[in-house]
Amino acid sequence: MSDSDNYEAVVQSASSEVASFEEHKKGLIGHFHHALHATPSLVPLIVLVASIIVFGIAVGSNFFSAYALTLILQQVQIVGVLAAAQSLVVLTAGIDLSVGAIAVFTSVIMGQFTFRYGIPAPISVVCGLAIGTGIGAISGWLVSRVKLPPFIVTLGMWQIVLAANYLYSANETIRSQDIATEASFLQFLGRTFELGGAKLNLGVVLMLILVVVLAYCLRSTAWGRHVYAVGDDPEAAKLAGVKVNQTLMSVYMLVGFICALAGWVMIGRFGSISPSATTGTFGNIQSITAVVIGGISLFGGRGSILGAFFGALIVGVFELGLRMAGADAQWTYLLIGALIIGAVTVDQWIRKVTA
C-alpha cells in the first residue's frame, strides 16, 4: 500500500478501445432473432399472419377471397383509428375511456350541424373535428394541470359525452338515404375504389395513413420521444427538461382529434348517423384491447403504435373468422376470449425465446 496516493494516476495509460465481443449467433436464424429483438412490433405481426393462416385453413377458401380479406380491414377501420388514438394516451401511462364516446358524439355533431342548422357538410366536418379536439383539450387540461388520474377524467368524460350525445341528438338517427342525397360529403370516407380486385374505402386508407404518420412522429420526432419519456417516468422527464404538461396536453388534444376522425369514418362505414352506436360504449375496451395485444404496456413508455394496429387486426381476424366458421354468438365470445389469451401467450413466448 506504499504508492496509494498515486494510484489514480495510472488510469492515464488505460486502454481506450470500445469493448466488443464476437457475435454469437449467425446466419438466418441469427438475423431473424436480431430483427425481433430490435423491432418488437414484429411479434404481433407474426401472430397476425399465423392467425390468418389458421383461420384460412379452418374456414376454407371463402376466407381467402378478396372480399373477406378486405372485409377485415373494413370491419376494423373504426377500432383501428381509435386504437391509434388510444396508443398515444397509453404511451403516456394514461388511459382514455372516452374515445368511443367522442367518436359517436362528433359523428352526431357533423350530422346535426348539417341537417339541423343547414351548415354545409365540409364545414360541419371541420366543426366536428374541432369539437373533438376541444373535448380532448378539456381532458388534457384536467390530467396535466389539475393532475387528476386519466382513468377518472376520461371515465367522467365518457359519461358526459355519451349523455350529451343522446340529449343533443334527441336519440334521432339520420338516415343514410338522406345523407346520400343531401350531404354526401359526410359519407366521403365511405367511398370505395378497386385495388387489384379488392374493394377498399377511403376510411381504410385514412386509417393506414394515420398509423404510418403517427409511427413516424413517435419514432422520429422530438415530440414522439417526449411522449415516451413522459410515459416512462414523468418525474425524470420533467427533471430532464421535457415540458410534461405541454406534451400531455398535445397528446390528449390529438387524441380528441383522431377520435373525431373516427366519427367521420363511422359515417362513411354505416352510411347513417346514430347516437346509439355501440362504439360509444365498447370503443374504449376494444381499443385498449388492441393496444395491449399489440404489446404496448399499460404502464406507459413501452411499445409501438404499429403493434396496436396489428392488435386491432388480430381481433378483427378472430371475429370474422369465427363468424364465418359459423360459431354462434356466445361461442364466438367465448372463443374470442380464449383466442386473445392464446395470442398474447404466443406473443410472450416469442419474446421470451428471442430475449
Binding site: 371463402n62 377471397s65 372480399y67 373477406a68 372485409l71 373494413q74 370491419q75 373504426i78 349523455a163 343522446y166 334527441a170 336519440n171 334521432e172 338517427t173 338516415r175 343514410s176 338515404q177 362505414r269 354505416f270 352510411g271 347513417s272 348517423i273 346514430s274 347516437p275 346509439s276 352506436a277 355501440t278 362504439t279 360504449t281 365498447f282 371475429e319 370474422l320 363468424r323 364465418m324 359459423g326 354462434d328 354468438a329 356466445q330
Partner: protein
C-alpha cells in the same frame, strides 16, 4: 349442391326473447334442411355488430337473412347491400325504417303491445287513474326504438298526452313520477324502482319494459312492503313472465310470439331459395303481423285478453 344457408341476426342473445327466437329458427331450419348461422349484438342497440354480421353472411354466400334490427334506420344501408347481393332480407320483431327496406317484416306491433297494457291499467284503476302515480322503467338511455314504442304506447293507452312520439321523457303530465332505465333485467329493475320510490314513495302504477325488469321492481316494492298496492304492467309474455302474472307479481303483460316469427322467417327463406318466391304481407298492413295478446287473470271490460292458463300454453318454450 349444398343445402341453402341462412342467417339469423338478433339484437342480443342474452334476452330470453331472442333466445327463443333462435331456438324456433334453429328447429325450423333443421326441419327444412337449411344451414343456419346465428349472430347477435353485444347489447340492445348494437348496430355495428349487426353490420359486421350482414357482411359475414354475404361473404359466406347465404341465401337469406332474418334480422331483428337494433337500430331500424341505421342498418338500412347494410341491408341494401345484402339485397343487392341477391339475398332475401326479412325483418323480425322490429320493422326497418322505411319498412320497405326489407323484403318483408314479420313483427309484433310494439306500440300496440304498450297500448294494451296502458288501457288495461287505466280500466283496472278506474277512478284512481286520474291521480295515479306512475313510474316508468325503460331499457336504456340510448332509447332504442322498441323501448320507445312500448313506453309511448303505454302512455297513449293510459290516456296521457305524448310529446314527441319518438322519445320518452318529454311528457309533462303530473301523474308521471319519473323515468329510469333498467337494462331490461332484474338488477336494473330493482335499482330503478328504488330510485323512483325514494323520489315518490306512493307510486301505484309501474310500467316496465319487460318482465325481468318487472321482477326486479317487485323486489324493491316488497322491500318497503308496498308490493300489495302497486300495479305492475309489462311486455313480452315469456314463460317466467306469465308465471309472474299468475303469482300476482305482474298485473298484465302483452305477449309476443318470437318462435312464430322465426319459423315463418325460415320458411320464407326456404321458399325463396327454392324458387325465388317472396313472402306476402298481412292484409291491410305493410308487414306480416304475428300478433300480440294481453295476458291477465283480471280481464278489464272492453279490452280483449287471454287468461294466464292460455298464456302459459302460448308462451315461448
Amino acid at each position: 349442391q349444398d343445402s341453402a344457408k341462412a342467417c339469423l341476426i338478433t339484437k342480443t342473445d342474452t334476452n330470453p326473447f331472442f333466445v327463443k327466437m333462435r331456438e324456433g329458427a334453429t328447429a325450423k331450419a333443421k326441419e327444412l334442411g337449411i344451414e343456419l348461422d346465428t349472430f347477435a349484438g353485444k347489447v340492445d342497440g348494437d348496430n355495428e355488430t349487426q353490420v359486421a354480421a350482414i357482411e359475414t353472411c354475404i361473404a359466406n354466400g347465404a341465401k337469406g337473412i332474418l334480422i331483428t334490427p337494433s337500430n331500424s334506420s341505421a342498418i338500412v344501408g347494410s341491408v341494401q347491400q345484402a339485397r343487392d347481393a341477391g339475398l332475401l332480407v326479412i325483418a323480425l320483431d322490429t320493422p326497418l325504417d322505411p319498412i320497405d327496406a326489407a323484403d318483408m317484416t314479420f313483427a309484433t306491433d310494439n306500440f300496440l303491445a304498450g297500448e294494451l297494457i296502458g288501457k288495461w291499467a287505466k280500466a283496472t284503476m278506474g277512478d284512481a287513474a286520474a291521480d295515479a302515480k306512475i313510474a316508468l322503467l325503460n331499457i336504456d338511455i340510448a332509447q332504442p326504438s322498441v323501448g320507445v314504442l312500448r313506453n309511448q304506447g303505454f302512455l297513449a293507452g293510459f290516456g296521457i298526452e305524448l310529446g314527441d312520439e319518438n322519445k320518452w321523457g318529454d311528457e309533462d303530465d303530473p301523474r308521471i313520477v319519473g323515468h329510469d332505465v333498467t337494462q331490461g333485467n332484474e338488477e336494473g329493475g330493482r335499482k330503478a324502482m328504488e330510485n323512483l320510490l325514494a323520489q315518490e314513495p306512493f307510486v301505484n302504477l309501474v310500467y316496465t319494459v319487460n318482465e325481468p325488469a318487472a321482477a326486479g321492481a317487485y323486489e324493491a316494492l316488497k322491500a318497503v312492503g308496498r308490493e300489495g298496492d302497486v300495479t305492475i304492467v309489462s311486455v313480452d309474455g315469456g314463460c317466467p313472465g306469465v308465471a309472474n302474472v299468475e303469482a300476482g307479481v305482474i298485473g298484465a303483460t302483452s305477449q309476443q310470439y318470437p318462435l312464430l316469427m322465426a319459423s315463418k322467417g325460415i320458411e320464407a327463406i326456404a321458399a325463396f331459395a327454392k324458387d325465388g318466391t317472396k313472402p306476402q304481407a298481412t292484409e291491410g298492413k305493410g308487414f306480416f303481423d304475428t300478433g300480440v295478446k294481453l295476458v291477465t287473470d283480471k280481464p278489464a271490460e272492453g279490452i280483449e285478453s287471454i287468461p294466464v292458463a292460455e298464456g302459459k300454453e302460448l308462451c315461448w318454450g
